[in-house]
């Protein structure tokens, strides 16, 4: 079929596109958002309907695009009869909900956000059912979990919404991970991630040794999503979501995802005893428990939530029976349940909207005020209870039939039949409560609002769905028949399945069961009505699944870590650090295993100059270690010395690139630490009673340090004297110029061969810079750091003494000459940065060192002129530099996609500049430009945000007010 590819892609793209558009609408543009949502999903429905002729004849559509071929991953979409049926539900009910939500939501809510999330959810759900690749399927699966989380938490100011959202996310996304593992196991056996291949290797998978594990994992995924016992508890909590969300996600679509996967994998996984016992017993338990608990709910949405649990249990039970007819019944009930439950949710929403409450105990007699809603809700509730001539009746009849057949063939005695009748009886009771308690009986005059019929566009969606209930119920063969045949045919292997849809089957045992359930339900309702109203909670107490989940969560989130913290030797960081160092040392010692150090390589002779150099270096390091406590500035200078020595070593040992970068980074690090010194407390030598303990500790640490030092020496020596075989460095040396177009191999590795790593690294750099910025925005310096420094006080005192001088004169003169030199030097340094950048591909240099150079120029300006002086003259926007750099690097990488190459493939050539010679030109250079801009931005942001701290005016500082510092001039 021509255009099928486009149709499938469009189906997927439409909701996501509309979601993106809705996200950018103004917060109160609800008409626009609703129009957008309705149109997008309506268009989706139109596409689905247009696909009908082919699909109904059993055609299957597919679309495949390459994704990551080397991993056997294709982006693939597929549609068959069953998928099509779900697409109709997703788009159709989605469209109705989108109309409904416009009138349901209050104008005060940010409605476009709801639509944006709802549409993204519709897109994910579409992607889930269309996926022809199991990994892609799980991605969409987790997206639905995530969007469900966001939608349940839509009214995030409510604690119930937040908790409900959290619970659902934890349960369903954990299930998603299980599903992923299960599907991967199956894919491993089948030898492909393609769903069709997996579906065709059912025998193999069932015979493999991993079948049991795969089955368990897939079932965990499906059960958590489709609210099966014991994971059912998240659905009632999810009722904190706005009602349109519940109508869409928690009745028609999201919760169907689990059973969708079960139906899809039915030909592969079913047919074994393990499948039969697990799936049918879980289904039966859920069916009964859900129906039983639903009777006790006093919240309308609570009734519907538990009823949904029960109906999904029914579907699961049917799937577990290993009978093809039962599978058809399951598919049929999926559609029926979606139709009547969505309309019931919308009706419950209408009641809530008009009467102001959803509590059955407070409601009554609404039929007088809202007759249309009453009629429609009654029809839908009838379908839920399985009243004849409605769609629910038909699937319930099929359910009874296959249950009876299962009784006969599987020797389960009469248990399923009994349970089925009991659960149906319960469902009659809660349906009656839903209708009788709300719409009939004596009208109440204490309702929060004076009820009346809801807006017409809230009633129309309910009406359409209720009409569908009747249509399917009365004329099943003309309406749902062909769809069901196509759906069943696409799932089941032979596709030649005989089932009849008829309103009247004659006097059958199934009909008798229906009659018994309806009658018993009616009697039970009349008997229990008063008692149920008086009951507050269903009688479960601490054994409710929710309470157990909360306890588990508490154990994993609080008690567990607390226990660990108690068991851990100490809460103090200093001792923990000691523990980490010791562990690392022991681990390294064990790994080396005391191996003697063989000398394989001829050693280079020791150059005395190098030895002297490192004697100085070692002295610097030891000096820094000694001075770091009381003489911070000296320690800083000594550390810089050690850094310079390692810089010289890099030059010595043929690594000019490293030397340049190290030198430049040394400069910025020193400036950074100098800026930080201001905020540390003064440290004065003191001899107190604790000195002995402190000295002991110093000795102990000294021993550890010496051990570590000796260990590192031995390790480094061993590494240096071992020959390295098969180094991949040869590869880079051979291809750097031929494929990367650069002579500087180090730079080519960074921006080309391992460009993706570099991309990750600059992202880290950006994150660190932004973190520093964010941390310092809330920075509260300690009081003693806020008094002017000694030097400043002396300068101010000098100014006060002399009459011709004003406050701040000395300060301004202090750096006048260096400041002038710096200002003259800045263009030179910037030019040098450009030079470093341009030569980077062929000679030592490149984006990293050029970026640091440029930021040094800026920082020098700050140092000489002061923060205010610079920012009055220059717009420094480091955050933009960071963003621009990251985007440039990303765009360079994406650019290669346009030419059909993988991410970050580079292209290089030489540009002939006539008399100026030939200039190398590679796309890698553009990437390097991104690196450059990001490094400039990050280094500048870090340093300037620390520098800005000195400009802060403290809020309450009586101490300083006394010293008369009201006119604190620029800090330098």
């Amino acid at each position: 079929m021509v255009g099928a590819d486009a149709a499938l892609l469009l189906l997927l793209a439409l909701p996501f596109g509309a979601s993106l558009a809705a996200a950018f609408l103004r917060p109160h543009a609800r008409n626009l958002a609703a129009t957008l949502g309705t149109l997008a999903l309506g268009a989706g429905l139109a596409i689905v309907v247009a696909l009908a002729p082919g699909i109904l004849q059993g055609e299957a559509l597919s679309f495949t695009a390459p994704w990551a071929d080397s991993l056997d991953l294709q982006f693939s979409l597929r549609a068959n009869g069953f998928v099509w049926l779900l697409l109709v539900l997703i788009c159709g009910i989605g469209m109705l909900v989108s109309i409904y939500a416009r009138y349901y939501m209050s104008p005060a809510d940010p409605v476009p956000r709801l639509y944006s999330l709802l549409l993204a959810f519709a897109g994910s759900m579409t992607g889930l059912v269309l996926s022809g690749n199991v990994i892609q399927l799980v991605i969409f699966w987790e997206m639905t979990s995530l969007l469900s989380f966001l939608l349940i938490g839509y009214w995030h100011h409510g604690a119930a919404a937040r908790e409900g959202a959290r619970t659902s996310l934890i349960v369903t996304s954990a299930g998603g991970l299980c599903l992923l593992a299960g599907l991967l196991l199956m894919a491993q056996v089948a030898g492909s991630h393609d769903l069709e291949v997996i579906l065709n290797s059912g025998e193999q998978i069932r015979a493999s040794s991993t079948y049991g594990l795969a089955l368990a994992l897939v079932l965990l995924g499906a059960f958590t999503k489709s609210v099966q016992f014991p994971f059912h508890f998240w659905l009632p909590q999810a009722m904190a979501a706005p009602t349109p969300v519940s109508a869409y996600l928690h009745s028609a679509t999201l919760v169907k995802a689990g059973v969708f996967v079960l139906v899809t994998l039915w030909p592969v996984l079913s047919g074994t005893a393990a499948w039969f016992w697990t799936v049918s017993s879980v289904g039966l338990a859920t069916l009964t428990l859900g129906a039983f608990l639903a009777m006790f709910q006093n919240d309308l949405k609570g009734v519907l939530a538990y009823s949904t649990i029960s109906h999904l249990g029914l579907i699961t039970f049917l799937l577990g029976l290993n009978s093809e007819l039962a599978c058809v019944a399951a598919i049929f009930h999926m559609a029926n349940h979606a139709i009547f439950k969505a309309s019931l949710f919308m009706a419950a929403g209408a009641v809530d909207h008009e009467a102001g409450t959803r509590d059955i105990r407070r409601l009554g007699g609404l039929a007088r005020y809202m007759p249309i809603t009453t009629t429609l809700a009654t029809v839908a509730a009838g379908a839920m209870a399985g009243v004849p001539l409605l769609n629910g009746f038909l699937s319930k009849e099929m359910f009874f039939e296959v249950t009876l057949a299962a009784d006969r063939s599987q020797a389960l005695d009469a248990l399923p039949t009994t349970v089925a009748v009991a659960a149906t009886t319960f469902s009659v009771v809660y349906s009656l409560r839903f209708i009788g308690g709300v719409f009939f009986g004596a009208p109440r005059d204490d309702l929060p609002k004076q009820p009346h019929e809801p807006p017409v566009w809230m009633v129309v969606p309910i009406g359409l769905l209720a009409a569908l209930c009747i249509l399917v119920g009365v004329l099943p063969n003309l309406t749902i028949g062909p769809l069901l045949r196509a759906a069943a045919g696409s799932v089941l292997a032979d596709g030649k399945l005989s089932f009849t849809l008829a309103v009247w089957h004659g006097f059958t045992p199934a009909l008798a069961m229906s009659a018994i359930a309806l009658a018993a339900g009616g009697v039970l309702y009349v008997l229990l009505r008063r008692r149920l109203l008086a009951l507050r909670r269903p009688p479960l107490g601490p054994f409710s699944a929710n309470a157990i989940f909360e306890r588990l969560l508490q154990a994993a989130g609080e008690a567990g870590p607390e226990w660990l913290a108690r068991r851990f030797p100490d809460e103090r960081l200093q001792r923990q650090l000691l523990l980490i160092v010791l562990t690392a040392f022991l681990a390294a010692a064990l790994a080396v295993g005391g191996a003697i150090l063989p000398r394989y390589l001829p050693l280079s002779t020791v150059d005395p100059a190098f030895a002297i150099l490192w004697t100085i270096g070692a002295a610097c390091a030891v000096g820094a270690a000694r001075a770091a406590k009381f003489h911070r500035l000296a320690a800083l200078v000594l550390v810089g010395g050690a850094g310079l020595i390692s810089c010289v070593s890099f030059v010595w040992l043929s690594a000019p690139d490293l030397a340049t970068t190290q030198l430049l980074v040394e400069v910025v690090t020193t400036i950074l630490l100098l800026l930080g010194l201001r905020w540390l407390p003064p440290r004065i030598k003191q001899d107190d009673a604790a000195a002995a303990a402190a000295r002991a500790r110093r000795w102990r640490d000294g021993v550890i340090a010496i051990c570590v030092g000796v260990g590192m020496t031995l390790l480094a020596y061993a590494v240096m004297t071992h020959p390295v075989d098969h180094s991949i460095s040869e590869f880079f040396l051979e291809r750097a110029y031929i494929e990367g177009g650069g002579h500087n191999v180090v730079n080519v590795i960074l921006v080309d061969f391992r460009g993706f790593d570099t991309f990750g690294e600059i992202t880290v750099l950006a994150i660190v810079a932004l973190t520093v910025f964010a941390l310092l925005r809330r920075f509260r310096p300690s009081q003693e750091s806020l008094t002017p420094l000694g030097q400043r006080r002396a300068q101010d005192a000098l100014d006060e003494e002399r009459e011709e001088r004003g406050r701040g004169h000395t300060l301004a003169e202090y750096l006048r000459v260096p400041g002038l030199i710096i200002q003259l030097m800045v263009p030179v340094i910037l030019l040098f940065a450009v030079h470093m950048f341009l030569r980077g591909h062929d000679l030592p240099g490149g984006g990293f060192s050029a970026g640091v150079t440029a930021s040094v120029a800026l920082i020098l300006l700050y140092m000489s002129g002061g923060v205010r002086w610079v920012e009055a003259r220059l717009r420094v926007a480091p955050v933009r530099w960071i963003a621009l750099g990251l985007l440039t690097a990303l765009a360079t990488g994406l650019g290669s996609w346009i030419f059909g190459y993988p991410f970050l493939t580079s292209y290089s050539t030489y540009l002939d500049l006539g008399p100026l010679g030939r200039a190398p030109l590679a796309t890698a250079m553009l990437f390097d430009l991104g690196v450059f801009m990001l490094v400039v931005g990050a280094a500048t942001l870090i340093l300037t945000s620390i520098a800005h701290q000195s400009l802060r005016r403290p809020r309450a500082r009586p101490l300083v007010a006394e010293t008369g510092a009201e006119a604190v001039s620029e800090d330098r």
């Binding site: 103090r572 820094a624 690594a655 402190a694 340090a705 040396l733 960074l750 660190v768």
Partner: protein, 113 residues
Amino acid sequence: MEIVLAVAIGVLSGCGVWLLLRPRTFQVVIGLTLISYAVNLFIFSTGGLRIGAEPVLSGATGTLALFADPLPQALVLTAIVIGFATTALLLVVIMAARGLSGSDHVDGTQGES
């Protein structure tokens, strides 16, 4: 040369570890800087020490016999820049910790010195 550099790495990391175990935050910062020098030199040295080898290709291709090993250099180059970033982060964290707790002890309380 190897023995000199090995001892240098040992001294740098020893001093760094000693400082890491000290109680004052600034000592930890300096210690971390020293350790990062040691680690950078260590990674760099895994390629073998080469004196006077060409770092930049002169022709179209090269071999390890004639040119310096580019791989450890590329690793260390980014490590140097990231090292700056982590030092900055640590510095800001200790500034904030001092502002909040009023002490520059790593434990956040004015413990024993």
